[in-house]
């Protein structure tokens, strides 16, 4: 498990009234900051909001957006909506997993990629699609396009590693 930078938590918590209604928005912020929900942070949230840790844990494990283990630098969301399904999304997913040598959706050992499935990102007109890092949507995917797609982000990952050695070493720690 990577080292958890607890100093990032307080400024984040201060943006919210310590009320239960803010539990999910806080968890979303934490997820975005750390790319997962570290146990120590969940304890702090429970204390601050006065919501029992079991309930924080219940919410954290109920919703799909949250992860209790670190996610990769790049998150590939393969859409498995109905339109994508009938246009061949399962095969695209299999190819991505195969190329990344993964048995199923999850995170690669080097923490570069997380592959997850989503149920419809609303780009059905362009099926099958995958979205990377919540912003880049790749339309009309085929198995033949998968290699290029992964390479694009692999290169970026390499590039950012050389540019910012500190950050990269954290991610790998």
């Amino acid at each position: 498990m990577p080292h958890v930078e607890m100093e990032k938590v307080e400024p984040l918590l201060e943006q919210y009234e310590p009320q239960r209604i803010n539990l999910i928005p806080i968890l979303q912020d934490v997820q975005e900051t750390y790319r997962y929900l570290p146990q120590e942070v969940l304890r702090r949230i429970s204390q601050k909001l006065r919501v029992p840790l079991t309930e924080v844990y219940q919410v954290a494990t109920f919703y799909r957006c949250f992860s209790l283990v670190p996610r990769g630098k790049h998150v590939i969301q393969v859409c498995l909506g109905t339109a994508c399904h009938v246009r061949g999304a399962p095969r695209v997913l299999d190819r991505i997993l195969l190329d990344l040598k993964m048995a199923g959706p999850g995170t690669t050992n080097d923490l570069q990629f997380t592959v997850e499935t989503v149920r419809c990102i609303g780009c059905c007109g362009l099926a099958p699609v995958a979205r990377v890092d919540n912003k880049n949507t790749h339309p009309h995917l085929t198995q033949a396009k998968v290699g290029g797609l992964l390479k694009k982000y692999q290169d970026k990952a390499e590039a950012s590693r050389t540019a910012k050695p500190d950050e990269a070493s954290h991610a790998e720690a």
């Binding site: 009320q19 239960r20 209604i21 803010n22 539990l23 999910i24 928005p25 968890l27 979303q28 919501v51 309930e55 219940q58 919410v59 109920f62 919703y63 799909r64 957006c65 949250f66 498995l80 909506g81 109905t82 339109a83 994508c84 399904h85 009938v86 246009r87 061949g88 095969r91 299999d94 190819r95 195969l98 190329d99 989503v118 149920r119 419809c120 990102i121 609303g122 780009c123 059905c124 007109g125 362009l126 099926a127 699609v129 919540n134 912003k135 949507t137 790749h138 339309p139 085929t142 198995q143 033949a144």
Partner: protein
């Protein structure tokens, strides 16, 4: 923008904006999620660069708008005032487009839509068959306005319905208008909106809340997203009118986290509306206070169910509870709450402006107004379609949708997401309304319409939905939690060729049991995909069971890939793409597939140009 202090000032601003409109050409580029994925951002940048390069920024405007609906042909754009419609635009076309505007609007021929029936190029959007049969009362403004600029919305008459309500309508009259319009909930179940509002008004408990359900979870549906992205103020205006009628001071809009652009636009719109005095305290000088909170979902399909959604807003796990009590009796924090879908709220200003009678004149006897569908799957013209209730599936598929690609045969139409069902091609003349669809074993749902052709396996479709529902079942009640798992297991068995004929009775029995005994809407409708495919496609199930064969050649364990050596030209494309090194053979010589190594991924089939790869 200055704060508007009365309905009169809204009207004045609208007139002023209308008057200031010049004949200056404007290029409106669709920047919805679909077109953006096709490169609309690059097109926008290229256009702006081109204008800057030629010093034309003040002469020609460029606007990024919401979804125009025709995702298949994206990026699309309209050049005003001539209203020339371009499709499939790329950044390299920017120069030609600007040239055409400066050279007396001679259209860029190659970017005009080509009608596949006539082969003719079409100049205007309304002449494109995809648009010609639509009646776009909710989505019509999407192509005209910049969703991030409230003045654009006001210019096309936005917030005039609110003005009208605040000056001329009592609260009861608003509810009456909604009731008379015949508007029914657009989220799926079709409960009459006016009746829901009336029920809330009967309650004496305060405070009251209103909620907009934008947790559009149905896979294959993206209408709500497009409306929030393209015209968020129409939803906000509906909410304010609702708040007036229902005496609510706060609203919550619950948006899926998977829709970042919709969240961004809605957030900006709420801020602008607040600055303009349309939200906050003393709205337009009426003494009414009203706030809208934006809540982001965290990825749980069940949160589309109203009681689960309320739990999620409160910061709890999204588990439903039995109704009654209904949310109008005991909703958010135990207070009376009205929940409506995005399109329902957006319909309210239209009803006020055009009148309940006008609205009720559209559609069928019991389903009024228009319905928005996302027409997707094996169809030529994928995109968003808004049609009057009562049009037939045939009109949808063949006139608007342009038929099935590659001359394939239509097999079924899946309507209503995982809660809906598959309607067979033989029922293509079915009119689309709430009752007709329910009778056919499907349901209106939120409007996802997935077209399936002969290459779609119905057992696989049923299995797909069961897998989805099993994963998304919240687990609170036994029939749904266990039932969806069992149905999935049986379907898996059948799709592997290991099913027995008695499995079909088991599916049927278990399906009805889950329907009758589940706690919430998710479970009560979960078996629909199975029951409807069993009803209409029993033969296909039987072929899987008796002959161990998948007629659509989808179920992996029942198919074999082969290469026809007489057709194969040895181009090596399949060898390069094969994930398991199963394709053998030298370049320029016929290849073959080692079935022992083949993982049946179908990559070779995708890339084979001469169509030498066969599936048995």
């Amino acid at each position: 923008m200055l704060k508007l202090k009365s309905p009169h000032e809204v009207k004045e601003l609208q007139l002023c904006l209308e008057a200031s409109e010049t004949t200056r050409p404007c290029i409106s580029v669709c920047a919805g999620s679909g077109c953006c994925a096709s490169g609309a951002e690059n097109v926008l940048q290229a256009l702006r660069r081109e204008l800057e390069k030629r010093g034309l920024q003040g002469t020609i405007d460029v606007k990024s708008t919401g979804c125009h609906g025709f995702c298949e042909k994206g990026p699309v754009m309209i050049v005003w005032p001539e209203k020339v419609f371009y499709n499939g635009v790329s950044q390299s076309d920017a120069k030609d487009i600007v040239n055409s505007v400066t050279n007396g609007h001679k259209p860029v021929e190659k970017l005009l839509y080509k009608d596949p029936n006539t082969g003719q190029r079409v100049l205007h959007e309304h002449d494109v068959p995809f648009y010609a049969r639509q009646q776009r009362i909710l989505f019509g403004n999407n192509g005209k306005i910049d969703p991030k600029d409230i003045r654009d919305y006001i210019k096309v008459g936005g917030y005039s319905a609110l003005g009208k309500v605040l000056t001329d309508f009592s609260r009861e009259q608003v509810v009456e208008a909604v009731k008379c319009s015949g508007l029914r909930g657009r989220g799926g179940a079709g409960f009459p909106t006016g009746m829901k509002w009336e029920a809330l008004r009967r309650s004496t408990v305060r405070p009251r809340y209103i909620v907009c359900n934008a947790d559009e979870g149905d896979p294959g549906a993206f209408m709500d997203r497009s409306l929030l992205e393209g015209n968020p103020h129409s939803v906000i205006e509906g909410l304010i009118i609702g708040a007036y009628a229902l005496e609510a001071e706060q609203a919550y809009v619950y948006v899926r986290a998977e829709y970042p652009l919709a969240v961004e636009h809605l957030h900006a719109a709420i801020e602008q509306a607040r600055t303009a005095g349309l939200l906050g305290e003393n709205i337009l000088g009426s003494g009414m206070d009203f706030r809208i909170h934006l809540v982001q979902g965290a990825g749980a399909f069940v949160c589309g169910e109203e009681t689960a959604l309320l739990a999620s807003i409160e910061g709890r796990v999204g588990e439903p509870h039995p109704r009654p009590p209904y949310p109008v009796q005991k909703g958010l924090w135990g207070k009376p709450t009205v929940i409506n879908n995005v399109k329902t709220w957006a319909s309210v200003p239209v009803i006020i402006n055009k009148g309940a009678d006008w609205y009720a004149s559209i559609g069928t006897e019991r389903s009024k107004g228009t319905m928005v569908f996302s027409l997707v799957g094996k169809i030529n013209n994928t995109g968003l379609v808004e049609v009057p209730m009562g049009v037939t599936l045939r009109e949808m598929i063949y006139e608007i949708g342009g038929g099935i690609p590659k001359e394939k045969k239509l097999k079924a139409i899946q309507i209503g997401g995982p809660s809906g069902g598959c309607i067979p091609a033989s029922m293509i003349d079915l009119p689309i309304d709430y009752e007709a669809l329910t009778q056919a074993g499907s349901m209106m749902g939120s409007g996802g319409m997935v077209v399936m052709d002969e290459d779609t396996c119905m057992v696989d479709v049923a299995r797909y939905f069961m897998e989805f529902l099993e994963e998304e079942s919240c687990g609170k009640c036994f029939p749904c939690r266990e039932g969806t798992q069992r149905l999935k297991e049986i379907l898996n068995r059948i799709s592997r060729g290991k099913g027995e004929e008695s499995d079909l009775d088991l599916l049927d029995d278990a399906g009805w049991m889950i329907k009758e005994t589940s706690l919430c809407g998710l479970g009560q409708t979960a078996p629909n995909p199975v029951l409807s495919t069993l009803r209409y496609f029993r033969d296909e199930y039987l072929t899987h069971i008796r002959e161990k064969r998948c007629p659509a050649k989808v179920c992996r364990e029942l198919i074999v890939y082969q290469i026809d050596e007489t057709i194969c030209d040895g181009c090596h494309a399949c060898v390069r793409v094969c994930a398991s090194d199963a394709v053998l053979g030298e370049k320029d010589k016929a290849h073959s597939i080692d079935s022992g190594k083949c993982i049946k991924c179908g990559a070779c089939l995708e890339v084979c140009q001469p169509k030498a790869v066969l599936v048995h």
